[in-house]
């Protein structure tokens, strides 16, 4: 009987139920779109922000002391970081927030004509299989995306011949009359190599007078196998606050609870601290401006999405409230009759709620898929790529739909509970 009554109402009031389903679908679609984008936006914003370069620089401890004392940027006092520790960066507490990084080694070299030139060894698109099962292609190809390729292409580390290849800055290429496809002989302090130019770049800075090659090539030229000068890290960070500033000055000044909170928040300073823990004798320091802007942009983007989600759900709740109340008013005689022939408030409320929840499920499912579609539109139009569907969006949207539907039903249920059969059946 209950089923017949539910079916009867859904069929008879299909227009009203369709409106309710549509309202719920609208709220659910916006919620699922915003949540999908919000959960994926970290990666997307990271990819966008990677174009601004690294936000953390790691150098050997002694080099840092010299730099602090004499305000000298160049040179590392003959101290190096260990190449075999590079993978550890992706094992820190905030490993997920490390989106890219690249090691650097500088080999002071000489060309055939005696011109001195800096050959920088680094990763271009170095492939790493991480212990977590993930894989990462890291390097300057993504961290220096503002470089303007004048000729040729980026050096592809994933081909077999990459150690014989190099990229040359536009200024150096012009001086030497070199272009993509030419070869150049480079003599380092410990070896001499012939490199094929695969690309000419314009970085708009001092890199334009340098040559970039793979890490092992530069290490071979300078005799620094297994060593690196510095590491640049692109990490997703939370904007600094009073706690992070205190910690950056002196982590030992924090209480145990404060230190735990600081350590477990993705401040640039706590990520630096964690990098220092895994890279022997290193000092990691944030490149302040980039670190701040990354976190701030992400936080603001997410806040905006949360606000849109909340507003859309409030709108949906108000819509449901109006429609369900109108439906109960329209059915007041029927509800009064049910009460008159022995229905208790609970059973009549259950009937109305079941009808609305069946409608909500239909609207919620339709809204979820529509929202996923909206998310793809947002992904393609804002970030130029698809938004990955996170399974956790499904239960969150389901819970939100239930909450919004329940809230939307409150006035109608209150009206239903107050309704007296005499008011609608006998006119008093």
């Amino acid at each position: 009987m209950f089923g017949r009554m539910i079916r009867g109402t859904l069929v008879r009031q299909w227009k009203k139920m369709l409106m309710i389903a549509f309202t719920i679908a609208l709220g659910a679609s916006l919620a699922s779109a915003m949540l999908s984008v919000m959960l994926d936006v970290g990666d997307k914003v990271n990819q966008e922000l990677k174009t601004y370069g690294a936000n953390i620089k790691v150098i050997p401890k002694e080099a840092s002391v010299l730099s602090d004392l004499y305000e000298v940027e160049d040179g590392n006092a003959g101290r190096y970081l260990k190449e075999d520790e590079l993978g550890k960066i992706k094992t820190i507490f905030w490993a997920f927030n490390i989106v890219d990084y690249a090691p650097f080694v500088n080999a002071q070299s000489e060309l055939d004509d005696g011109t001195e030139i800096t050959v920088v060894g680094t990763w271009f698109n170095h492939h790493m299989d991480l212990p977590t099962g993930e894989s990462l292609d890291a390097g300057v190809a993504s961290m220096r995306s503002w470089w303007d390729l004048k000729e040729g292409s980026w050096l592809d580390e994933q081909t077999g011949e990459s150690s014989d290849c190099a990229m040359i800055g536009a200024e150096a290429a012009e001086k030497q009359g070199l272009g993509a496809g030419d070869t150049i002989k480079v003599k380092g302090s410990s070896a001499e190599k012939e490199l094929r130019i695969v690309g000419v770049y314009d970085a708009g800075g001092e890199e334009d007078s340098e040559i970039y090659c793979t890490l092992d090539t530069a290490q071979e030229l300078s005799g620094l196998e297994g060593s690196i000068d510095s590491i640049e890290v692109s990490a997703l960070t939370t904007p600094d606050d009073e706690l992070s500033e205190r910690a950056a000055k002196d982590p030992s000044s924090l209480t145990v609870a404060q230190k735990e909170q600081w350590y477990c928040t993705a401040y640039a300073s706590s990520i630096c601290y964690q990098i220092q823990e895994v890279i022997t004798d290193s000092v990691a320091s944030p490149v302040r401006q980039v670190a701040d802007s990354e976190g701030a942009i992400l936080e603001k983007t997410q806040l905006l999405m949360v606000l849109i989600t909340i507003l859309s759900l409030i709108g949906a709740a108000l819509g449901i409230c109006n429609l369900v109340t109108a439906s109960v008013m329209e059915r007041s005689q029927e509800i009064g009759l049910m009460k008159a022939i022995g229905a208790h408030n609970g059973s009549v409320s259950l009937l109305v709620l079941t009808e609305i929840f069946i409608t909500a499920i239909i609207g919620g499912v339709a809204g979820f898929f529509a929202g996923f579609g909206f998310a793809q539109i947002i992904g393609h139009s804002v970030f130029g790529s698809a938004i990955n569907m996170r399974p956790m969006v499904i239960p969150i949207v389901a819970v939100l739909v239930v909450i919004v539907t329940l809230i939307g039903c409150i006035p109608a249920i209150r009206m239903l509970l107050r309704l007296r059969p005499t008011e609608v059946l006998h006119g008093r």
């Binding site: 009867g8 008159a340 007296r420 008093r428």
Partner: protein, 234 residues
Amino acid sequence: MSLLELKNVYKIYGELHALDDVSLTVEKGEWVSIMGPSGSGKSTMMNIIGCMDKPTKGEVLLDGVDIAKESKKNLTNIRRDKIGLIFQQFHLVNYLTALENVMLAQYYHSMPDEKEALEALERVGLADRAKHLPSQLSGGEQQRVCVARALINYPEIILADEPTGNLDEKNEEIVVELFHKLHDEGTTLIVVTHDPEVAEVAQRTLVLRDGKLSKEIVNDHFTGKIRFDDQNPF
């Protein structure tokens, strides 16, 4: 013990005394009609006897239980178990068939039983219309469905509020005939009506005026059949 007993019942809305010191008794198996002009308190009395409202003052004993003192939940249970309601506007659920409308009363009482509901429709001569929606039935047929719904749970009392108010003469006769059958089977009937012809077929007629019981007429000539003639005492 009387089936229904009202003792000095008042129902007061602000300054208005909808019922003013009304006392009456109805015996088991009796057929009583309540008459009176609009605003005389008929519907108020009906609501109180039907456990849909409580008196402001006084006692209403239904089968020995003072319903004036019962909770809202208990009143619903008493209404469900002891009273069958028939309305002037029929109040059928328009998306349920005639059969389902009868089963609705069973559903809120105990368990729906399609066979039993069909038998109830047979008693009112509508077995062949069981699968029809209310919109596919005439006014008289709808009222007969309403009667079937009222009697499906074997109530102690059937309360009918203007049961023939929306019917033509022919259907009025059919409905009164049904009441007669129910009365013969021992059902207690209380019928509120404006219509003197319907009132006079009852054993006893109570006349309400301004909330007071102004007259009680015992119909000596009780036949249970409607008379459309000039001999009507009202």
